[in-house]
């Protein structure tokens, strides 16, 4: 395989599993890249860009990276046109609507006429409530969303849940599931053609058990 591939990787929660997944595919990535943003993989020909997770789709859409690994939850929040070639199976979590147990929404209590929803997932939340014809105001936050219902900033939250521990700790319960997320292998549609063999090769190696 002569073509050199540039792969965008997400920093943070998905990084360790992404690293393992690539290692299985024969692409060795350092466990800690420190402050470096561009790294050459152990095979000496795959270049890796280590990015903030939410930036991966942009790098791939522009072709600054040929392909990338990113959570489906990040793809929900963007318009970027990238091709989703594989569900890599790791990084599984659910995007859910959650609220205070005492409000009883999980038990069928009606939402207030005008629901206030705090979330980091503005687009997904908007789409979910629009589909169900629930009038709501989305309060876009950047972290610790679970605090919002406790202090009266919001009636409900839309957030990712892996084990459910955070919700329990704050006496919140799941009202409904918005979607299931996991890590995806995405590719730039034009690079898929321009570097066809190299991409198919990586895809096959990523998917082998």
């Amino acid at each position: 395989m002569s073509e050199r591939l540039v792969i965008a990787l997400p920093k943070g929660a998905l990084y360790e599993e992404t690293r393992k997944c690539l290692a299985k595919a024969g692409i060795e990535v350092p466990a800690d890249v420190g402050r470096r943003l561009q790294v050459l993989a152990g095979d000496g020909r795959t270049e890796l860009l280590v990015l903030r997770s939410s930036d991966v789709p942009a790098y791939v859409e522009f072709g600054a990276a040929d392909c990338g690994i990113v959570g489906k939850d990040t793809l929900w929040e963007t318009d970027r046109s990238v091709s989703e070639l594989a569900d890599l199976g790791f990084g599984q979590c659910r995007l859910v609507v959650a609220a205070r147990r005492s409000d009883g929404y999980h038990d069928g209590a009606r939402y207030p006429t005008f629901l206030r929803v705090a979330t980091k997932f503005k687009r997904s939340a908007q789409a979910y409530f629009a589909e169900r014809d629930v009038a709501c105001e989305i309060i876009a936050l950047h972290g610790s969303v679970e605090l919002a219902p406790l202090v009266g900033l919001a009636d409900a939250i839309v957030d990712l849940v892996a084990t459910g521990r955070t919700l329990r700790e704050h006496d919140l319960v799941v009202v409904d599931e918005v979607g299931r997320s996991s890590a995806r292998f995405v590719v730039n549609p034009v690079r898929f053609r321009a570097k066809y063999r190299a991409i198919i090769d990586v895809l096959e190696r990523l998917q082998r058990d």
Partner: protein
């Protein structure tokens, strides 16, 4: 004073460069006997609406004149040309060869290679039928990119009838087939596989569709795909692609053209042959086109057509 997002000024040196590229393109159009036309920058919204897919409609700059008439800036040139041809060139002998180099406008997030005002150069072969017309569009596009100095551009071709034929052999039709086609066009294998599972399509049969979405190559892939094309229509489309590859051979272009069975472009617009041209360095295509036999009939003139266009600013980025 500021200018709005997504538009730009062209200063003398860069504008001279752009004009030079446009002249080279114009020369290729002349060699192929295409006559240049120009339509108004803005038109009555309803006229443009007839040609546009949903996405382009959302990206249309709309406004009203002081009398309340709903107007819109053109988002591309093919629809206005279809209007002109059906309204004013019906007596002209077919096929009609028309070209343009003009600005178009789309409301989208400005970024590299995607501006709100941009220049398109393109050609429409109206009344052109069969493989020869399809090949003419493709070969002209290749010559155009060669003429501007992009001899390393590569081209992928396809025919929408092929995925239809495979969908039929998988046993899908109607809305289910349309949904699958969209996933094929986006090359979203995850959604495609998920669709198969949810709709309980036999996994082995469905895998054929997944494989088709990933298949790209030359004559070798035609042999792979022929047995899974369930309709006469799709087999004929496959034969036409083979014929185009054969003709490209004679020009020494064989290595530059591949068949990509997931290349579908705008589903509402194109009715058969489609192609896209790109270079490896850019993450977006430079040019594209195909057969759009249903557009002129929407303006009341029942003739087939094939056309293509190239983004002039994208060429400048590639050079």
């Amino acid at each position: 004073m500021k200018i709005p997002p997504g538009v730009r000024d062209w200063l003398p040196q860069e504008f001279a460069f752009k004009r030079d590229v446009e002249e080279r393109i114009r020369e290729v159009f002349r060699c192929w006997s295409y006559s240049e036309v120009l339509t108004p920058t803005f038109e009555v919204y309803e006229a443009l609406e007839r040609g546009l897919g949903e996405r382009l409609m959302q990206q249309t700059f709309r406004f009203s004149d002081p009398l309340g008439q709903s107007l819109a800036l053109r988002t591309e040139m093919t629809t206005p040309i279809a209007r002109v041809v059906s309204a004013r060139l019906r007596q002209a002998p077919l096929p009609l060869r028309l070209s343009y180099i003009a600005t178009a406008f789309r409301y989208e997030e400005p970024q590299l290679g995607r501006m709100r005002e941009f220049t398109q150069a393109g050609a429409e072969l109206i009344g052109g039928t069969g493989t020869s017309a399809d090949a003419e569009a493709l070969f002209m596009a290749i010559e155009t990119l060669d003429a501007v100095g992009l001899g390393d551009a590569r081209f992928d071709i396809n025919d929408a009838a092929i995925v239809d034929g495979v969908l039929a052999s998988v046993g899908l039709s109607g809305d289910a087939a349309e949904a699958c086609k969209q996933f094929v066009a986006e090359r979203n294998l995850v959604a495609l596989r998920d669709f198969g599972e949810r709709n309980a399509v036999d996994p082995q049969t469905f895998e054929i569709l997944v494989q088709l979405t990933m298949t790209r190559g030359r004559d070798d892939v035609v042999r792979l795909v022929r047995p899974i094309c369930a309709t006469e229509h799709s087999r004929a489309a496959l034969a036409r692609l083979e014929e185009i590859l054969k003709r490209a051979d004679a020009f020494g272009w064989r290595e530059r053209i591949n068949i990509d069975f997931a290349l579908l472009r705008d589903l509402r617009y194109y009715t058969g042959f489609v192609f896209e041209g790109y270079i490896g360095d850019l993450g977006f295509s430079l040019c594209g086109g195909g057969r759009y036999d249903q557009l002129l009939p929407r303006f009341g003139y029942d003739v087939p057509a094939v056309g293509w266009m190239v983004g002039v600013e994208r060429i400048l980025l590639a050079l």
